[in-house]
């Protein structure tokens, strides 16, 4: 790289020596080429500014020459005027162009220095890493489906009376059906009352019917308890119950509601269902419901194949239950059904072991849980 200073005395004297026209013109040519070279060689904006001042500043070389125009003859001026103006414009443009190039180069250099390793792994954001438990998600899914059919959500306490858990639901005292419930009891009180942990969500049927005028359409999700523990039974589990009470809803409506529910919940276009007569003290007639599934391949696929899978119990609300709630069973009728929330979650999402639901193992929650913003809706899809 050439390295000289614009203030070099040789530079000044060598190019300003002659004084005749030709000499002047020749001087200008030299000045132009020197300036252009200097501009091209300018490494940064400061150097460029120095050149500008040297050439075009108040006392710059070109400016000084311009001042001499006034002393020239008109003829001389006619020659030198345009020449000097042309030089001034040329140098101004050259400086401007060089400025752009330098700015571009500076930007490139800055960008190059700013490069980072974009392959570096991120730290997951909280909204990405948190998970909703499948039980909560499935309750939201149920809510979305049944809200669309005009149902609202009812709830009741876990600590219940014998009356609401059994008697009002038409479980006779001492009947074997009571024993099948493996009830958790609290200690007997002084007045002889013995509270219990509800064995099903059905007491809420009674609470609802006693507190709300028909028509009634509710679903009742919640915790339920039975003293039983193995791979498929835990002492605490979740049930959801449905109840419809009005003056005309019959078993045909129940069938339709459950079919629509199963299609919507399992997200299949069609599904075969089978209703089998069964027995529950609080419904008459009572049925159990099987849905079509495929067990080949070791995994249960809902809505395909030739096998049956029991998923819920249902029936027309027993006249005694309607009567126990202060309604006339010859006027009011309706139906109810109940199923395990954990169980349908397992069926839909393929968890093998019920006990893991209540163990709070983060690996399990991360694997089977749902993203916080995946709120199930019918229009947006229940699940991804």
């Amino acid at each position: 790289m050439r390295n000289y200073s614009l203030k070099d005395p040789d530079f000044n004297s060598a190019r300003c020596a002659r004084n005749d026209d030709r000499a002047r013109m020749s001087n200008l040519d030299t000045l132009e080429s020197d300036l252009l070279t200097a501009i091209d060689d300018a490494e940064n904006e400061t150097a460029l500014e120095d050149i500008r001042v040297h050439a075009l500043g108040k006392k710059g070389r070109i400016s000084e020459q311009m001042k001499t125009l006034g002393k020239m003859t008109p003829e001389e001026r006619q020659v030198m005027g345009p020449a000097l103006n042309g030089l001034k414009a040329k140098i101004t443009d050259a400086i401007s162009a060089r400025k752009d190039i330098l700015a571009e180069a500076a930007l490139e250099a800055r960008l190059a220095s700013e490069t980072v390793d974009v392959t570096l792994p991120l730290r997951p954001s909280p909204a990405e890493s948190g998970r909703i438990h499948p039980v909560s998600q499935v309750i939201d899914e149920l809510t979305a489906i049944f809200a669309d059919m005009g149902f609202s959500i009812a709830e009741g306490p876990d600590v219940e009376t014998d009356e609401l858990n059994f008697t009002a639901l038409n479980f006779p005292e001492g009947h074997p059906a009571r024993e099948m419930h493996d009830t958790f009891f609290f200690n007997e009180k002084e007045d002889g009352e013995r509270l219990l942990l509800r064995t099903h969500t059905s007491p809420v049927q009674i609470r609802t019917m006693r507190n709300q005028e028909p028509p009634i359409r509710v679903i009742i999700p919640g915790r339920t308890y039975r003293c039983d523990s193995d791979q498929t039974h835990t002492p605490m589990f979740h049930q959801v119950e449905g109840l419809v009470i009005d003056k005309e809803s019959h078993f045909g409506h129940l069938k339709w509601v459950l079919l629509e529910f199963c299609k919507a919940f399992f997200e299949v276009d069609d599904i075969k269902m089978r209703f089998r007569p069964s027995f529950f003290p609080f419904t008459e007639p009572s049925m159990e419901v099987d849905i079509q599934c495929d067990r080949s391949g070791g995994e249960v696929k809902i809505g395909q194949g030739e096998d049956w899978l029991e998923i819920l119990g249902c029936g027309m609300v027993h006249p005694n239950v309607i009567r126990n709630c202060g309604l006339d069973p010859d006027v009011y009728q309706g139906f109810a059904w109940g199923m395990g929330i954990d169980r349908i979650a397992m069926l839909k999402y393929g968890m093998p072991d019920l006990r893991a639901f209540f163990d709070a193992d983060v690996r399990w929650i991360q694997h089977y849980g749902f993203r916080p913003l995946d709120l199930p809706t019918l229009f947006g899809g229940l699940s991804n």
């Binding site: 730290r123 998970r131 809510t143 959500i153 009947h175 958790f184 200690n187 915790r223």
Partner: protein, 805 residues
């Protein structure tokens, strides 16, 4: 309830295949749980005869057998059974055969240097019974070379149905046949039992004596058969009992068991020579005991129904016979009992004594009262046929109750409840084929249920019977009409809050847990619970004994479990119920979370972008505030108090309140003593939000948010630093500053706290940045200075601090 196909066909004339029968049983409510055929596993086993049995040269207890298999040369088998002898006809397993009771496949083996080409099997080895005292010893004329399963009548499907408790009539094969016949799967072979005329009066009398108390026995039939020859029952009877898993005992006992399963009618037989005097059916007395036929002894009292003679209690009526008066092979005179017991008393006694018998199972569900005496006749017939002897006249104590339930049945009820159209004729035929009595004609008839159907109460039951038999698939799918409203309220405020809290916390990186509602008593006590009212009388384990007063013990333990698995940086939350007392109102909804290790909001553990520090009280406070904001709490109005429960670190915890008495949330680091008591390792921080404590949102006034008042005037910022005592709370300073000019002060940021050089001991420097937002006109310097002076004066006055110069 188990039965074999041939047993069913004894009562049902049908051409239907096994598959059709199984399908129909399930579809009429007698759900088939399993169909098994023992012959499937026993196919390879053949009958073989032992020709020779020599002592094993090298073992005292072993013998070397030569066995005739019915084909080819005899095979050599080493056998250790004590009953192995020349001439025995038994069952042979050959190399390659799978022995189900041993779970092994046979191969040729050498036992103490002698080769053995198979084994002679015991009943246990073939899973026929628990018998393992010796090898199977068949009748001498059993055909050598024939399939053992076929010869023994094992090649037959055994059907097991899961019987619902309302169907006592189907605890007997006959009742099952009746249901199938009604459903069109064949014709019921109607039972009829001749009345056997006794040749002498029954010498033993029976009385029902319940004094003034509620009778536990409704009626009691009894008769003596003398001169019987008891012994093993015939093969067909033994085969049937064995097929359904019962152990044959002797003919008299086997007959009672047979009728129990054939007709659903339990009976009892006494050895008449061991009965002293007459029988009295009465309440037990405290101090009385009985040795049951099951080998166990029971102490009884007045809640238990006893059949007693002069010697004392001989039988627990309807549940269990007594050993001393039971029938043995030596019995020559037998008393046959057919009685009718109170269902509730049977259930209560069975529960109390913990006895489950086939008799209890039937009596507590309700045995056909009208079949009490016919059942006695049937048993007598079988005794006479199989054991000989001479029957007495039967006697009966008490009265069989009459069925007085006549149901007015409008046929329209079928359509009303089920939605299905059934013709009058079809409805009638269905009910009649099930044994119902129908009277009258027209739209409403009178119907009485047969005596064997105690479950039939009213109209709905009749609808069920009809729909069940004609088939539930005939009920038409009927869309449920839409309700009149759109946008009706689906969720309660509490439910909405829970959902919002849940998703807000998950969005802060928490994983949602669902932990048990019951916890160990010490944990419950530690968190303010453990009262007697909320303690389970029959917990499944001592770790699940008390209803939880707080979600924190469950979550803290869960966090520790994860840490023990190697995942120490966890954030867990739960939204659920806690129990303050045993009333419905005492059940409260709570959202709670714990963070452990370095599980902070921005991420856990080490990372190239910066390692996470340990969780601290401010993480918990931030979570609590975020969740409260999500459920609509007025976060700007919350006040921070220091009186968190003592499970928290006293200096690093707090409460968020709306007024001094309404605590919405608690937060903080867990107290070291709590960690120690629960055997936890920190760092652990937690919060708990009382969702029900937040006042209900206003129902009126609409959802308008009001106009935005965004001033066009430039706000002004001013910094202040105060020297205050080190125990002065930030809240006190901020409140004092905020109060200086409420209309002008839009925001205050506390941006620095400093203790150390330049600040006197016992003091700290607190710096705040106050944003003044003029509304009307730009503030003059004088106005700004006036506000600043007011701020300084307020802070100094309420905190005792000074402006730092």
């Amino acid at each position: 309830m188990k039965f074999t196909l041939s047993w069913l066909k004894e009562h049902l004339e049908t051409d239907a295949s096994l598959e059709e029968i199984v399908e129909r049983l399930t579809m009429i409510g007698l759900e088939v749980e399993e169909v098994t055929n023992r012959a499937d596993r026993l196919k390879p086993f053949k009958i073989a005869r032992v020709l020779e049995a020599e002592q094993h040269p090298n073992a005292d207890r072993l013998r070397v057998l030569k066995v005739d298999t019915g084909e080819g040369d005899p095979v050599q088998i080493v056998c250790g059974a004590p009953n192995a002898r020349a001439g025995l006809v038994g069952v042979l397993g050959k190399p390659g055969d799978y022995i189900p009771g041993l779970d092994v496949t046979l191969s040729v083996g050498k036992i103490r240097d002698v080769e053995s080409f198979g084994m002679m099997c015991s009943e246990r080895e073939l899973e026929l019974s628990d018998e393992h005292d010796g090898i199977i010893d068949l009748a001498e004329d059993a055909p050598v070379g024939m399939s053992f399963a076929e010869w023994a009548g094992l090649d037959e499907p055994v059907i097991e149905i899961g019987l619902t408790p309302n169907r006592p009539d189907c605890t007997g094969v006959y009742g099952i046949a009746r249901d199938l016949a009604a459903a069109g799967l064949g014709k019921l072979k109607e039972r009829s039992h001749e009345q056997i005329r006794g040749s002498y009066p029954c010498p033993v009398d029976v009385t029902l004596d319940f004094g003034d108390t509620k009778p536990m026995c409704k009626a009691f039939g009894l008769r003596l058969v003398k001169g019987v020859k008891n012994g093993p029952s015939p093969k067909w009877l033994q085969d049937r009992l064995k097929a359904i898993g019962l152990r044959p005992i002797n003919t008299l006992v086997d007959i009672t068991n047979y009728i129990t399963f054939d007709q659903g009618r339990p009976l009892h037989v006494f050895d008449a020579d061991k009965v002293h005097g007459n029988l009295v059916v009465r309440r037990g007395k405290t101090g009385e005991t009985i040795e049951g036929l099951n080998g166990k002894s029971y102490e009884i009292d007045e809640t238990v129904c006893a059949i007693a003679d002069d010697n004392g209690v001989e039988s627990l009526g309807g549940i269990l016979g007594g050993e001393p008066s039971g029938c043995t092979e030596e019995t020559v005179n037998v008393l046959i009992e057919s009685a009718l017991w109170d269902e509730d008393d049977i259930a209560a006694t069975g529960r109390k004594l913990g006895v489950n018998t086939d008799a209890r199972y039937r009596f507590e569900r309700g045995v056909d009262p009208d079949y009490m005496m016919p059942g006695l006749e049937y048993a007598t017939r079988m005794v006479l046929d199989l054991c000989g002897g001479e029957a007495s006249e039967p006697i009966q104590a008490g009265e069989v109750p009459e069925n007085s339930n006549i149901i007015d049945f409008p046929y329209s009820e079928i359509r009303r409840l089920s939605g299905v159209e059934v013709s009058l004729a079809e409805a009638n035929l269905t009910l009649k084929s099930l044994g119902f009595w129908i009277s009258g004609s027209g739209d409403t008839v009178k119907v009485a249920a047969p005596s064997w159907r105690p479950d039939i109460e009213g109209k709905a039951d009749l609808v069920e019977e009809i729909v069940r038999i004609i088939g539930l698939d005939r009920v038409p799918l009927t869309p449920l009409p839409r309700t009149g409203t759109v946008g009706q309220k689906v969720l309660t405020t509490s439910q909405i809050r829970r959902n919002k809290a849940r998703r807000a916390l998950a969005a802060r990186g928490f994983n949602e847990a669902v932990t048990w509602s019951f916890i160990a008593k010490p944990q419950a006590e530690l968190f303010g619970g453990g009262s007697a009212a909320l303690e389970l009388a029959n917990p499944i384990s001592h770790e699940m004994s008390d209803m939880r007063p707080s979600l924190l013990p469950g979550l803290l333990m869960a966090a520790q479990r994860n840490a023990d698995r190697g995942f120490g940086d966890v954030a867990l939350f739960e939204v659920g119920q806690v129990f303050q007392d045993d009333t419905p109102e005492g059940q409260k909804m709570v959202a709670a979370g714990v963070r452990r290790g370095t599980a902070k909001l921005q991420g856990a553990s080490r990372h190239w972008s910066g390692a996470s520090a340990d969780v601290d009280v401010f993480d918990a406070k931030a979570d609590a505030e975020a969740a409260l904001a999500a459920i609509g709490a007025p976060v700007e109005k919350l006040q921070v108090y220091r009186d968190a429960p003592d499970t928290f670190h006293p200096g690093r915890s707090g409460c968020l309140k709306l007024g001094p008495k309404n605590t919405l949330a608690v937060f903080g680091e867990i107290h070291p003593r709590t960690l120690a008591a629960l055997d936890l390792e920190g760092p652990l921080v937690a919060f708990e939000i009382h969702l029900d404590a937040l006042p209900q949102p206003k129902s009126k006034g609409g959802r308008s948010k009001g106009a935005l008042n965004a001033s066009h005037l430039m706000p002004v910022r001013r910094d202040f630093a105060f020297l205050v005592g080190k125990d002065v709370s930030a809240e006190a300073i901020l409140r004092a500053a905020r109060g200086a000019e409420k209309n002008l002060i839009a925001e205050i940021t506390l941006f620095d706290i400093y203790q150390g050089q330049g600040v006197p001991d016992g003091q700290k420097s607190v710096a705040i940045d106050v944003l003044l937002q003029p509304r009307q006109k730009t503030l003059t310097d004088e106005e700004i200075d006036a506000v600043a002076k007011k701020i300084i004066a307020n802070v100094e006055k309420s905190t005792g601090g000074t402006l730092r110069g």
